[in-house]
Symmetry: C2
Subunit: 199 residues, 2 copies
């Protein structure tokens, strides 16, 4: 019904996660009024993304070079590695701005039920880094699910006889949460990991 | 924080209507995994959209030619024109599939408060069509707002002494609506425009 170019755009937008028919239509029609410079940059970025964007050889984060800007940053504490599930998490931690160590992106979590075993995610390269770099602490920052816990446990076991501290980010009631809406599992976890306030 | 190409993509997605920071990020990262063919088509469509997509010389609908496919379709009833506010409405009517006449896209509604006067929207070209084409009925299909009513009234006045029926789509309680949630204005309209069921 729409002219072909617009139909094509609608189809492309519809393939994006979370975009339905109506939103795709609205976004495609927006392009009719968007400024030329933006459309040019948009199209170029789409064509370049696969050529330019690679994974960092050290931490598996996104980069346009061999090694990412975080691994390359000499002002960072290269003795700490924060292990995360996927790339997005790196940028979440970077946004808070208080973590100054390095990262390691697993690209998944161990999940025997889905046939995802330790060798299917980037655990091997993490162990290599512990052997070759001067790492003092590994902070495991994955979600508190069965897969997350399995992955955390596997990594801590694998690092048992290396001279490195393995820690896990705290799980519990999130800031600003209404206690009425906190689920039972989170409450149980929060209770278990309670902190003594006396000292 | 992300590599430049991804940052650029996020910026472009964020300019789209209804897309915030998080969705833009998700959509940009999706492009990393999208297939090459789709990215190619996406980029080409973005670059072509302004060159290829124009307005129909007759009805102001979108087209890649001088006259749109609807105006060009000889099987359609060229004696009826459905007047709509914007392009999207044409495709809404086309989706129901039961209207076989032509369209006229106003590109706005009269709104003196916003300084939008009859000459700022495509009413002049509508009047010309009535003079030059063999039109028997003009169906006004704009929303039932102050602007919509003003526009409908203006058009019906302007066509008063032409030999053409001017009608307006029915307004009332929408299909499937829960009566509890229908607003007072719609109910008032529905009551006023009630239909006699005896004959």
């Amino acid at each position: 019904m729409y002219p072909e170019t617009i139909n094509n755009l609608i189809e492309c937008y519809k393939k994006h996660p979370g975009i339905g028919e109506k939103s795709a239509e609205r976004m495609a029609l927006y392009c009719l009024e968007a400024d030329d410079e933006m459309l040019q940059m948009f199209a170029e970025s789409l064509l370049n993304i696969k050529k330019k964007v690679k994974r960092c050889k050290k931490c598996n984060n996104l980069t346009e070079n061999d090694v990412c800007s975080i691994c390359n940053d000499e002002s960072r504490d290269s003795s700490v590695i924060c292990v995360v599930e996927d790339i997005k998490n790196v940028f979440q931690f970077e946004k808070i701005g208080s973590y100054h160590g390095l990262y390691h992106v697993l690209d998944g979590l161990i999940s025997p039920l889905d046939n995802i075993n330790p060798e299917d995610i980037n655990i091997g390269s993490l162990l290599e880094r512990i052997d070759n770099e001067n790492i003092k602490e590994v902070i495991i920052a994955v979600k508190p699910s069965i897969e997350g816990e399995t992955t955390a446990l596997y990594i801590s076991k694998a690092l048992e006889d290396k001279n490195v501290i393995v820690s896990k980010i705290a799980h519990g009631v999130p800031m600003g949460a209404d206690m009425d809406y906190v689920d039972a599992l989170t409450l149980e976890l929060a209770l278990e990991e309670r902190k003594n306030m006396n000292n």
